[in-house]
């Protein structure tokens, strides 16, 4: 019987004052005892509302029951049946809007900490399990995966286990996609991503880095001379969005993608790094999603005073609750119901050679209020008349989402895209081209790791079905 009195176990974390000066992981993870105790809070509902809230349908009550028994490897097996990257998802999934949102314990109190237990189980497995992942027997069919982010890794893993000869093509020099260039070390240690990538290699998956599909080689060439029978496009989101306000191209205005890539992929935060990054004193991050939180917390760790500027109210922040909480603990200021109208540049009229000319010196914002709900039910932000004000800043980071990357669309005949540029797929993840499947941000626009994984999973099943019947 579930323990109804026990409160949800808090996540041990690095002290905010300490962690805001380092890039080590913030959340430290449950101990064995904490995980087993937390597991006893689960009611084991037969209808499993939590499972239905999970984009990859993990049998949550089943794995939690195994955690309660101390059978962590058994718990891992349950999770791994439907999720390829549990150590990643346990860290980056927005559980409060998925599994934990539907937890019955949450109706009158706090939901069971499903995500934290998932993380514990995955970490336990990674630390203890003896990797005996034997290479599956090849079925002789070749499948190409474009992009090594969560969608591509998942699709590759599922297909490799079924015996397909899988090759992943990655544009950057390192595999992992957004898991390595986007999400910071303090939220998702890169060693965890590397372990997942190594796991795929052990299954026989080949990874070709430095290969830009649409430039180095096209999809038609992959399916022609290279002999791939099916292709999965998991190329992720593309060009960063800007607001089209004055001053956006001043020195010191970054897209979140650029800022995060310099830090996470290129390690610009390390002393002596070859890749430069501007060390600023006052940073404004525009946007309210996870990427905005990541950029803000990175800027903080580089020593700046950081403000998040978001046009709706705190309630509408699209970021994971835990990220907002962590950001606040680290001293990041939230200026909600505020929207930039211009970025202000330094200009010394007496000295045209002043090195500060052309760099950011402030941001002009306007106050907002919430009006009627829009078609998605979110209340529309409206400008408050004559409420402009200026703030001093020497760096502005735009975290407003992305537009789809045009490279693959422009070089693949017959590949249909919607009016936002996202690749059109049916319920089987099939595009308008035979044998070409797609999923993740390349289809949906910027979304979450777990949704991309779900799409990669669906595509793997569809590709298997397609090639078996071909």
């Amino acid at each position: 019987m579930a323990d109804m009195k026990m409160p949800r176990h808090a996540m041990p974390a690095q002290d905010p004052e300490v962690r805001s000066h380092n890039f080590n992981e913030v959340a430290l993870g449950y101990t064995k005892e904490m995980a087993m105790e937390e597991a006893t809070r689960c009611l084991g509902c037969p209808k499993m509302p939590c499972k239905n809230g999970c984009p990859v349908q993990i049998n949550i009550p089943d794995f939690v029951a195994k955690v309660a028994e101390g059978d962590f490897e058994g718990a891992y097996e349950v999770i791994h049946r439907t999720s390829s990257l549990p150590a990643v998802c346990g860290r980056v999934c927005p559980q409060e809007s998925q599994c934990e949102k539907y937890c019955v314990r949450g109706v009158k109190g706090e939901p069971v900490a499903i995500g934290r237990m998932e993380r514990f189980v995955a970490d336990w497995h990674n630390a203890h399990a003896k990797e005996a992942s034997a290479k599956p027997v090849s079925n002789g069919h070749k499948v190409a995966i474009i992009g090594s982010g969560p969608a591509g890794l998942t699709c590759a893993g599922d297909l490799a286990k079924l015996g397909y000869q899988v090759t992943i093509f990655e544009a950057l020099h390192k595999a992992g996609g957004v898991l390595v260039y986007g999400i910071p070390e303090f939220r998702l240690p890169k060693a965890i991503v590397q372990k997942e990538v190594d796991g795929l290699k052990a299954l026989g998956v080949e990874i070709c880095t430095n290969t830009v599909i649409g430039k180095t080689i096209t999809i038609d060439e992959l399916m022609g001379e290279k002999g791939f029978e099916a292709v999965f496009i998991g190329s992720g989101a593309g060009l960063p969005k800007f607001m089209n306000i004055p001053g956006e191209n001043l020195q010191g205005v970054y897209s979140a993608n650029e800022f995060l890539t310099r830090i996470n992929l290129m390690k610009a935060y390390r002393e002596g790094s070859d890749t430069p990054i501007k060390h600023s004193l006052k940073v404004a991050v525009v946007g309210g999603g996870n990427v905005a939180m990541d950029a803000a917390r990175c800027a903080k760790r580089l020593g700046a005073d950081v403000s998040i500027i978001y046009r709706r109210s705190e309630k509408e922040l699209p970021a994971r609750a835990e990220e907002v909480e962590h950001a606040k603990e680290e001293g990041i200021i939230f200026r909600t119901l505020t929207n930039p109208v211009a970025i202000l540049g330094y200009n010394n009229p007496d000295d045209r050679r002043d090195p500060k000319n052309g760099s950011v010196c402030g941001i002009r914002c306007i106050k907002m209020e919430l009006g009627e709900p829009d078609e998605k039910g979110r209340r529309r932000p409206i400008e408050v008349k004559d409420s402009e004000f200026d703030m001093e800043m020497d760096c502005v980071i735009m975290a407003l989402g992305t537009n789809p990357n045009p490279l693959i669309k422009n070089t693949t005949k017959g590949l249909d895209v919607n009016n936002h540029g996202g690749i059109i797929v049916n319920e089987d993840a099939l595009t308008s081209r035979e044998g070409v499947y797609a999923g993740g941000d390349a289809v949906t626009g910027a979304a979450t790791v777990i949704l991309a994984m779900g799409a990669g999973k669906q595509a793997a099943a569809s590709i298997d079905e397609y090639l078996k019947n071909k």
């Binding site: 544009a171 080689i217 760099s359 990357n405």
Partner: protein, 282 residues
């Protein structure tokens, strides 16, 4: 996994060097106007370099670089037979040459390395090519013979008059236009300030002028947004929308300013890299 072997290394002048890199997949697709991104070693930064030539059969891509910062110091320390960590491309769009009958190609300094394959391609397609190449001084003139071979007319300019004619590339271009040459297009590749003034020169004659922009970038595939420019009042990304743009519409002053963001950092890194190599030599 070290695949990108340096097949040839040849200094062109005191600070400019040519390398042929073994990269068959890049060589197969490379076209004039496109660029590559390389990393010298595991800790290296990603730097874009415009393609200076290619040999599809041998699988070689030619790059020509000037030693200006820490990364090019490191690159220059590599020798024939050594390997580069990463080499990706070809990126960006190729220079459009179709239908052009008479073109002036203007190259400045190390930019001549990128202008050359464009001139060669135009020449091979039967276009009349007038080339104007400019340098500070005689001792840094590069690729003169190569330009002569693919140009119907060649003007070599030096700032100090130690070689060719004394003057700027814009002087020579202006004189060519004044002499009655009617160009379908002018293609200018070199320092931003040179491209800006080439555009000012051609503006008065209403000649379409294409410039090749090489701003700071990281991925080169349309992800980071660092390479953005203002073209015709709109934000464009050099990596996927360019690197060639209609020069009359480019905000060059903004591009110069954006290019200067890491100047301080680069100066320190350059000094450190030089000191490091000096120590090794000792």
């Amino acid at each position: 996994m070290l695949m990108y072997r340096i097949a040839r290394k040849k200094p062109l002048n005191a600070t400019v060097t040519l390398m042929d890199i073994e990269a068959p997949m890049v060589a197969k697709k490379a076209e004039p106007g496109q660029f590559i991104i390389l990393r010298v070693d595991e800790e290296g930064e990603r730097i874009p370099l415009t393609i200076a030539g290619y040999d599809r059969e041998k699988g070689l891509v030619t790059i020509i670089y000037q030693v200006v910062g820490a990364t090019t110091v490191k690159l220059n320390a590599k020798n024939e037979g050594d390997y580069l960590q990463d080499f990706v491309g070809p990126l960006g769009n190729a220079t459009e040459t179709e239908g052009l009958k008479k073109v002036a190609v203007v190259g400045g300094g190390v930019g001549c390395a990128i202008a050359l394959p464009v001139a060669q391609k135009l020449h091979a397609e039967g276009c009349e090519v007038h080339s104007v190449i400019g340098f500070r001084s005689k001792d840094i003139v590069i690729l003169e013979d190569e330009f002569r071979a693919c140009s119907d007319e060649l003007k070599v300019m030096t700032d100090d008059g130690t070689h060719g004619e004394k003057g700027l590339v814009t002087d020579a271009l202006d004189a060519l236009i004044q002499a009655g040459n009617q160009y379908d297009e002018v293609i200018a590749i070199g320092p931003i300030i040179m491209m800006k003034f080439v555009c000012k020169t051609t503006e008065k004659y209403g000649i379409k002028t294409i410039v090749s922009m090489c701003p700071i970038m990281i991925d080169g595939t349309g992800m980071c947004g660092g390479c953005r420019l203002t073209v015709d009042g709109q934000t464009k990304f050099a990596c996927v929308d360019g690197p060639d743009f209609d020069g009359s519409k480019v905000d060059f002053d903004e591009a110069i300013s954006r290019g200067a963001i890491y100047k301080e950092f680069e100066r320190h890194a350059y000094d450190e890299a030089c000191n490091l190599f000096k120590k090794e030599v000792k």
